[in-house]
Symmetry: C2
Subunit: 211 residues, 2 copies
């Protein structure tokens, strides 16, 4: 929780916490559908069923709300899909994770996805604090993938000379790039292709890859 935005009130009651959460969730859904720029405070207010004052009671500004959304999404650690995979420490788990991400796009018709990549695309160039939050989120995701890959290498499933950082980064990049293209082209093929490539790259470092 190192990127957690401090709640605005000094003390947050369960009731206040619930209201705050409701606001963040409403914002997340609206941003998924309309983007950050296309989501106004009034939209969030209406969707969360609160007044304008409540919004500013819990968040200093629209930016603070956006950052709460970023935090929420970064904390959806295995966000690409349901069901939640506990660790990415086998080829099967990696493949399942990729398939879940693909399935998610299929279900939504490649529309409306509020993930770190789409937030980065909208915010990085003009909001340094949000960019930093998103970057931290990506780092945490990378570390999670890294942990899994490290476990695989320690079990002798990946070659000792594999650059695990590179593998993790290529997987994350493939995911974000695949989602971006799939959402733009309104078809799931780019994500399928990019995940196939990234997984194949990881597989090329499997100990029995030559077999």
């Amino acid at each position: 929780m190192t990127v957690t935005e401090e709640p605005k009130p000094r003390r947050l009651t369960p009731k206040g916490r619930a209201t705050r959460d409701r606001i963040v969730e409403a914002a997340t859904e609206l941003i998924a559908r309309n983007g950050v720029a296309g989501t106004g405070i009034e939209d969030v207010r209406a969707a969360a069923g609160v007044s304008g004052s409540q919004l500013y009671h819990y968040f200093d500004s629209k930016q603070a709300l956006i950052r709460a959304v970023i935090t929420r999404q970064a904390d959806s650690v295995l966000q690409p899909g349901e069901p939640r995979v506990t660790a990415l420490d086998s080829f099967e788990a990696l493949r399942a994770w990729a398939d879940a991400a693909i399935e998610r796009q299929v279900e939504t018709g490649c529309r409306g996805d509020c993930n770190l990549g789409s937030l980065a695309g909208e915010l990085s160039v003009r909001d340094e604090e949000s960019r930093s939050d998103i970057a931290n989120g990506f780092l945490r995701w990378k570390d999670l993938v890294l942990d899994g890959l490290r476990a695989m290498r320690d079990r002798g499933e990946l070659r000792a000379d594999a650059d695990l950082e590179e593998l993790a980064l290529s997987l994350l990049s493939a995911l974000q790039g695949g989602v971006l293209l799939s959402q733009t082209m309104l078809q799931v093929r780019p994500l399928e292709a990019s995940m196939n490539a990234a997984l194949a790259y990881i597989h090329s470092f499997a100990v029995d890859a030559v077999g």
Copy 2:
């Protein structure tokens, strides 16, 4: 030029063409630095050295200007880098193309890139016409990569069973995802990793790959 926005005046003189181009270029640079949402009409006006009326003389709206920027960028077919590579029909050319994209990020410190991917991230969810323009641009890029891969297969360098569409899509996705992560994390490693993975995937279908 199938996605070309019709110029607003019925006839465009060389002088008018120059002014219009100057506006589009100014907009492109500003968008690279500040994003679409962070670039206002007044910013473009000042940077291009024209009046507000001139902007609306040449473009019906801000959206029309953005679409002209999209067209311009999609037409920068081998936009990822300089020098302009004439065709992506060999492993060497693909590697050079990837290296050029990486070099471009190195030169800019992973900041400020107005490519189809970043435009897609900002616009796709809330501007259907822009999304369509960008998607068409991606399709054209994919076709260009496809042409190169097809030539390689016809020359016997890629196996007949290679799914060239998948290879082209994985390469484009890796490029966009790599740029996105590199720009967010302000380091070039993600792009290096993603391009390595995509090129390795293509290479895994090389006819002499088993050697």
